[in-house]
C-alpha cells in the first residue's frame, strides 16, 4: 500500500547528502537579500493572515505549544526574508481547548472576524474534521500538519477541496512501525513474533488498534494483548502488569505526554523491561519526555516525523533550540513545513485569494527544497498533494510522499535508527531502560 512512499525514502538518502553542500551557498546568499528585502518590503504590505487552531488550554495544551513554536519559527524566518509577495505573514491564534464545538466557533471567528486568509489545524483529528468543514464553506485553504486520522481524506471528504494534509496517515505510521519490527531482526538477530498494544482509550488509541489489526497478518505478527487506559491516568501499574503477563516480543504504544512518562516510570517500578518498545510519536516525542525521564528512557523507540539528527534537520534544530530552548520535534517540524508550503503556494498563485491558493496547492510540487528556503526538513524530499488509493479506499489531497523514520533514545537523545540507509546508528537491543 505504501510502496511509493517507501521508494521515496530509499531515494532520499543519497541525494540528501549531495544537496547539502549545494544548498549551503544559497543559504549564505540569503542574509544579503534579507536585509534589503526586510527594509523595503516586510514592514509595508498588509499582513497575510494565517489562522491557527490548536488547544492552548485544557488537557492537551502541551501539544499546541510545540506546534506553535514551529509555526512562529517559520513565520519569523519568512518575514525576515521579505515575507510573502512582499507582505509579512501574521499568525492569528485560535484555541479549541480540545472540543469540536469550540473548534468550529474559533474557525468561524478567525475567518469572519479576523479575516484570516489561510488556516492550519488542528492537533486532534476530531476537531480538524469540524474545522475543515468551516474552511470549506468559506473557501479558506487549510492544511493540517499533524492530523493523522485516515478518515479525514476518505471518500466522504472528496468534495472538500480546500483541505490538504501534509502528514502521513495513521495506517502509514503503523505499517512503518511493523516494518521496523520485521527489519530489526537484521540487527538484533532475534525475530519479533508477538506484539502487544499499549494505548490511550481516546481516538488515537483506537486508530493504533485498528491499523495494527489491518496489517498484522501481512507481517506475520501475533497480537497478544490490547491494553488501554483513560488519558491522564492516575496509575498504570495494572496495565503494565497485563503487558508483563502477556510477555510480547515488542510493545507498540500511543500516549499523550503525561501518560507516556508515567508508563516508562511504571515499567521500571514493576520491574519489567520489554525488549522493544515502539511508540507512535505523540507524547513520546514531546521534548519533555527525555528531560523528565532521564536515563530510564533509553531504548524507547518511536516513529518520528522529524529528528534533529536527520541530515536536513541538524542545522534548523540548532537554530530552533537557540530560540526556544527545546529541540524541534515532529509536530514543530511539520507545522514549520506547512507555513513554507503556504508561502510557496501563495507565491505561485500570485495572490492570497482562497480559490487561487487552493489551485496552487493542488498543483504544488516541491522537490528537495522550498524556493527561497531550506531543504525539506522532514524525512522525505518531495511534497505533493495527490488523490490516490490506500488499502482499497480512495483518498484525496494527501501528501503521498510523506513518510516517517524510526528513532530510538540512546544516551539521552533521539537517534534515527531506521530506515537503515538513513543512518549509521544501530538499534540498541534489548532496550536498556536505564
Amino acid at each position: 500500500a505504501s510502496g511509493a512512499i517507501n521508494s521515496a525514502q530509499g531515494q532520499a538518502a543519497a541525494p540528501a547528502e549531495q544537496e547539502r553542500t549545494e544548498a549551503a551557498p544559497a543559504e549564505e546568499a540569503a542574509p544579503a537579500e534579507e536585509t534589503a528585502a526586510a527594509d523595503e518590503n516586510a514592514p509595508e504590505g498588509d499582513p497575510i493572515r494565517l489562522g491557527t487552531i490548536y488547544a492552548m488550554s485544557g488537557g492537551n495544551a502541551a501539544i499546541g505549544a510545540n506546534i506553535l513554536r514551529g509555526i512562529d519559527f517559520a513565520v519569523a524566518e519568512i518575514n525576515a526574508k521579505g515575507g510573502v509577495l512582499g507582505r509579512p505573514l501574521e499568525v492569528v491564534r485560535g484555541d479549541h481547548a480540545g472540543d469540536p464545538a469550540t473548534g468550529k466557533s474559533e474557525a468561524e471567528r478567525l475567518i469572519t472576524q479576523e479575516h484570516v486568509d489561510l488556516m492550519m489545524g488542528c492537533h486532534m483529528s476530531t476537531v480538524t474534521e469540524v474545522v475543515a468543514q468551516v474552511c470549506q464553506q468559506y473557501g479558506v485553504p487549510m492544511i493540517t500538519a499533524i492530523s493523522t486520522l485516515d478518515r479525514l481524506t476518505d471518500a466522504d471528504h472528496e468534495d472538500m477541496d480546500y483541505f490538504f494534509r501534509l502528514c502521513p496517515l495513521n495506517s502509514v505510521y503503523v505499517e512503518d512501525m511493523l516494518k521496523y519490527l520485521k527489519d530489526s531482526t537484521e540487527q538484533t538477530g532475534e525475530e519479533i513474533k508477538t506484539i502487544a498494544i499499549f494505548t490511550d482509550r481516546a481516538a488515537i488509541g483506537q486508530e493504533l488498534i485498528r491499523c495494527v489489526n489491518l496489517f498484522k497478518d501481512e507481517y506475520g505478527l501475533e497480537l497478544v494483548a490490547e491494553v488501554d487506559y483513560t488519558s491522564n491516568a492516575t496509575d498504570l501499574s495494572a496495565q503494565v502488569l497485563a503487558l508483563k503477563d502477556a510477555n510480547p516480543d515488542a510493545i507498540l504504544c500511543d500516549s499523550y505526554i503525561g501518560d507516556a512518562t508515567l508508563f516508562v516510570q511504571t515499567l521500571k517500578a514493576q520491574n519489567y523491561s520489554p525488549k522493544m518498545i515502539v511508540a507512535k510519536a505523540n507524547g513520546f516525542t514531546d521534548p519533555s519526555f527525555i528531560t523528565n525521564l532521564g536515563s530510564i528512557a533509553n531504548g524507547v523507540a518511536s516513529v518520528v516525523e522529524f529528528n534533529p539528527d536527520l541530515t536536513n534537520g541538524v542545522e534548523i534544530n540548532e537554530e530552533f533550540n537557540k530560540e526556544f530552548g527545546v529541540d524541534m520535534n515532529g509536530h514543530s517540524a511539520e507545522s514549520y513545513t506547512v507555513v513554507w508550503i503556504f508561502k510557496t503556494a501563495i507565491e505561485a498563485a500570485g495572490s492570497v485569494e482562497g480559490e487561487a491558493v487552493k489551485e496552487a496547492l493542488t498543483n504544488l510540487d516541491i522537490q528537495g527544497e522550498f524556493p527561497g528556503g531550506r531543504k525539506i526538513v522532514l524525512p522525505y524530499d518531495r511534497i505533493k498533494f495527490e488523490n490516490y488509493e490506500l488499502a482499497g479506499e480512495p483518498h484525496y489531497r494527501d501528501n503521498t510522499y510523506a513518510s516517517v523514520a524510526i528513532a530510538q533514545i540512546q544516551d539521552g537523545a533521539w537517534k534515527t535508527v531506521w530506515p537503515f540507509n538513513f543512518t549509521e546508528t544501530k538499534i540498541a537491543y534489548p532496550a536498556p531502560l536505564e
Binding site: 499546541g64 488501554d228 496509575d235 501499574s237 502488569l241 520491574n271 532521564g294
Partner: protein, 287 residues
Amino acid sequence: MSTFLQACVNGLLMGGFYSLMGMGQNVIFGVMKIVNFCHGEMLMVGMYLTFVLYTFFGIDPYLSVPIVAVVMFLFGALIQHTLITPSLGTKSFTNLLFLTVGLGLLLSNGALVIFGSTYYTINTPYSQTYINLGPVTMALPRLISFGVLVVISSALFAFLKYTTTGKQIRAVSQNPVGAEVVGINVKSIYILTYGIGVALAGVAGSLLTGFYTIFPTAGASFGFRALIVVVVGGLGSIPGAFLAGIFLGLLETMVALFISPSYSDLIVFVTFIVILVVRQTIIARRR
C-alpha cells in the same frame, strides 16, 4: 500468583493516595457539608509548590512536605476566610458547590498561565530506586510516600478523636449554632478545617511528585477519586476514608487484572453507584 501479589501491593500503594485525598475532602465535608470540587486542583498546587521548592531552592520533595503543608494550610485558610465563609451564610448548597468548581477552574488555569503546559517531573537521586521483596517490586518513592501518609492519617485520626480541637471540629460539624453556644469560635474552626483539608491535598500532591508528572490538569482524576473515597467510606469518617481509599486502589487493580484494564473505570463508577445506593437504602430502612 506473583502478578496477583504485585497487583495487591500496587493497589495498596495507590490506594494510600486516594485515602489521603479522601480524608482531606472528608474533613471539609464533615464540617461544612460542602463538597470541595477543587480538591484535585489543590493537589496540583501542592505538586507545583514542591516542584518550585525543588527547582529553585533545591529542597528534596520529601523535606518539602512540611513546608507544603504549612503553605497550603495558609492558602486554604485564606480561601475559606475570603470566599467560602461569606458564602456559607447564603446556605445555598448549589452556590457553594459552584464556588469550589470556580476555584478549581481558577487554579488549573492559573497554573497554565504561570507554568505553561509543559509536563514536569522531579528527578531525585533515589527516584529510580526499587526494592524487591520476593516476587514483588516497589519503587522507593512510592513506599516512602505510603509510609508518610499512614503516619499522617493516624495523626489526623487521633487529632480529631482525642484532642479538644478535634472535638470542637466534630461539634461544629453537627451543629454550628450549638457550638457557638458552648463557646466554640465557629469561623476559626471553619478556617482550620478547610486549611487542614487543603493541606492534606497539598501533601498528597507533594508526595505524588516522586512518581507522577506535574501539569495544570494533573489533579482532575485524583479529585474525583477523592469523592468516591469519601462517599464509600462514609461522610465524616476518617478511618472509613482510609479504608475506602485502599479499597478503591485495590478494586482498580483487581478489575484491571481479572477483567480488563479497559473496564476498570467503568466498573469503578458502577460499583460506586451501587455501594452508595445500597448503603443509603439500608440507612433509610433503619429509620
